[in-house]
Amino acid sequence: MAETRQRWRLSRGGAIDRGSPIRFTFDGHAYEGYEGDTLASALFANDVFVLGRSWKYHRPRGVMASGVAEPNALVTLLDGDQSVPNLQATMVPLTEGLVAISQNRWPGVRHDWLAGFDLLSRFLPPGFYYKTFNWPRRLWPLYEGVLRRLAGLGQAPRHPQGSSYDQLYAHADILVVGAGVAGLAAARAAASGGARVLLVGQSTIDAPVSAGGPAILKRATMVGCYGSYAAVYEQHPRDDRLGRGGRLHRIRFGQLILATGAIERPLLFDNNDRPGILLASAILQLLQCFAVMPGRRLVVATNNDHAYTTAFAAQEAGCEIAAIVDLRRGGSVALRQAAARRGIRVVAGRTILSAEGKEHVRAVMVAATEGRGASETIACDLVAMSGGWNPSLQLATQAGAILRYDAAREAFVVAGLPEYVQVAGAASGIYDAGEAVRDAEAKGQRAAENSGRSPSLRPTPATTITHGPCNAIAPAMVRRESGRSQKAFIDFQNDVSARDLVIALQEGYVSVEHTKRYTTLGMGLDQGKTSTVHAVQLLGALRARSPGEIGTPRPRPPFVPVPLAAYAGFRQGALLQPFRRTALDGWHKARGALFENAGLWRRPIAYPRPGETLPEAERREARAVRSAVGLFDVSPFGKIEIHGRDSLAFLNRIYANDLSKLAIGRSVYSMMLTEHGRIFDDGIVSRLGDDHYLLSPTSAMADRVPQWLDLWAQTVWPELEVRISTVSDQWAQVALQGPLAREVLRRAGTDVSLEQADFPMMSMRQGLVARLPARLSRASFTGELGFEIAVPASLAPSLCDALMDAGAGHGITPYGLMASNILRLEKGFLIHGAELDGNQTLDDVGLGWMVRKRKTENFIGCRALSLPDLIRKDRRQLVGLLSEPGDEALPLGGLVSRGAEPGPEHPWIGRVVSSGFSVALDHGIALAFVESGRALKGQKIQIFANGKSQVATVSDPVFYDVARERING
């Protein structure tokens, strides 16, 4: 029988559907609520007040606030082995079969073995972890593991989440956030001129949408503002029992109106966190929206008029009002008379000193706000407190609002905004509903005008639809002792009490941002929604400053908890990161390649045979290139064609080396410098015709080089006739490398003469290979005789099949990035990301000779080459390193020293940037940058890494075929 089980449910009223009962469980107990309930309202109806334990002291906690403001009632939803933690019970819509559990309690929320922490709270001041558990230092990891188990919020899910979260993008001329009276009025006014208006609100109720009116996103909360786009999280109802399937919207807007309302503050008194002590507005919402009156005897404590509404409504719902404790001596005469007519006792000039009861409030002790008058204990089972209202400006702050402290409202209000942002209604400090509507309409019209529209709205007649102004307000902390106690909580979610702030200040944390980090005030999921103003007021009082001088800590996104899976969206598993495949991806796969992502490219690293380890495959492939012939996919190299009358003039300004003498059909290894004289890209330039060149920048720079060329061609030398076309994706390219390369290519069939005299190293020909149209170049990144063959991308698999067939009798071997890396390392060839990181000069890598000698022709970076830093004698120079015979390969990233371990007295003089085990030398080799390293050739140095050291001998960076006989063969 639902009626009897829902002890505190009223028989009438509310926006719930009593005809649609919903069953759910909390901590294993079955309950029943109604369609339209939140988890919080349904638990209240069922007399469940303790919803969790606080994160530091393990105090029992229940719902204190409503909606997004709730700091305490965080729950975990379960469905089989899936779970979603840290959801606010006030924001979880009740659904059939919902399974929720409380957090941070063991073994149960009613009998928490760690509740003893509360008794120790005197000895757990802010920062106590670091003060107490810092000795001996090496045990901190152990302490940390235990502490993390004792303190905290929900547990992260143990199993991968289903990919049911989606991400959407939207554009709006005007975005209105908040669907209260102000938001609705602003959206209506904003749309009246025809602008595209989107209204985002937490409402679950369908609002009538008229043609041309605003579009509405329901169950949605703006969670962050990033420049001119808003992140909005939309709860997706009924998708599954965990409330998963939410959608993260990125909404680009021209104008933003924030009608985000105001959030009520608690009052400060001892044990103000006991279950059954709620904000006055939260009790009013329970009554009016959910028809729940969760008590028989209510005490209302307030410093403003607004909470009287809660007292009157509760009385009408059958609740006894024990007293209205009004902190003010003055206050509204009309309201006091209204209370008197209802037979409600008002005690003015008094405040609550403390609450009694542990898992539920039993009574409050009331005393005068000033002096030492007698105190009185008032029995009750429910307390409604109101410490005034904070305009909800977290999102406005993110959107660029500047705040000031308004003493009349005892709150921070907007003092300045970017011109495209407006704040309307209660968020702008207007608490009268009628005034808020008129304010919002005016701001909606202004947004429409700012969007270039002519709004045509008849304003709502000037009526006052007030809840009762709350402008007459008394300070919430009048009694010194009640404002500074260990049990008077300011930040409920983070267990920060008034005393913690006093201690932080005593210890020298003056800045509000430092106080936040030391005490955890305003951190976590809550970001200080109910706590910031109290904290700032208290810090101001302690330092004899105004709250405005203290300032507020900056609230961070997200505004409400958003599952991390929603931020991930579809970017999971194979979709985590996009990658590019070459035209040969399937060809590699069919030959058993292992892949790794190199930059954006998915590239084969090796083709291990059955039973072969990866290092074994690497060595086999490298040996095949040195002794026979290998095939390697070099498609990721950039390919940029340059046409036009001024091509040569342009390239000679771009490259540091002289291209004037480059003949048609020849290629040259070339260097682009930055304006600072550092190496930007090393690549090959080939001349295909009179005014026709082909650039091959390195794979890592293939996307940046065209942009760099466009920048100079378009913005600096528009008078040059030069056309830049990127054809990187149109051509696939393979390297055929090894002493038998020429023989295999001949067997595959080509109309290009391959003889040394006709086709020398560093030249390019166009012709047919295996009857496919191809560009052939004599180029080598291995040090062996070699060709690189480019064909239209779609023909690449045919080319490779033909080459494999032609080389079958010669031991042709496909090789991957690992073998390629050891082959180039043996030759001292440079790689972006290893030797080159944008800081090296040509001289650093031993290529200073490449710079053209004729100084009449200027090029990018030329002038910088004579800057003092670039000609320092102690610059780090590229050298080779040989490990001691029998030693393993030198550690990548190892620090180079002349002897002693690098430290303050012995500065390190270099770093290992590439390392491997040479196949040709059967020896560990490495490349390193070492201060004045070329002068150290033949000397022994020490390499330090991971607490070990190794001896190495400095050598030339070229380890193999120094005479270049093989490459030119």
């Binding site: 420049g227 304006e675 942009q707 913005t715």
Partner: protein, 90 residues
């Protein structure tokens, strides 16, 4: 997230289609330019607080560089124009 008008495409695109270049207009330093000139050009950026004209590149589009005026205080894009001077507000 900005929406930026490309004067060459005559349409508005999301910032993701664009690449920010710099507020500095490039020039080739003369081989005989003074140390002061070199240091000033290479290292001394104006870092303007307020409206500043910047080079942006329509990288996933027409691949043209153009000029965007952006207010560094509000991060608002105020106008775009082509290198030849044609453009429009916002």
């Amino acid at each position: 997230m900005q929406s930026i008008y490309c004067p060459y495409c005559d349409a508005v695109f999301d910032e993701e289609d664009m690449t920010f270049g710099s507020a500095k207009r490039r020039r080739l330093l003369a081989a005989d330019s003074t140390r002061e000139d070199v240091v000033d050009y290479l290292f001394m950026d104006a870092n303007v607080r307020g409206p500043v004209e910047e080079l942006w590149y329509h990288s996933f589009g027409c691949r043209r560089w153009f000029l965007v005026t952006r207010d560094t205080r509000s991060n608002l894009v105020l106008s775009s124009r082509s290198l030849e001077g044609e453009g429009q507000d916002g």
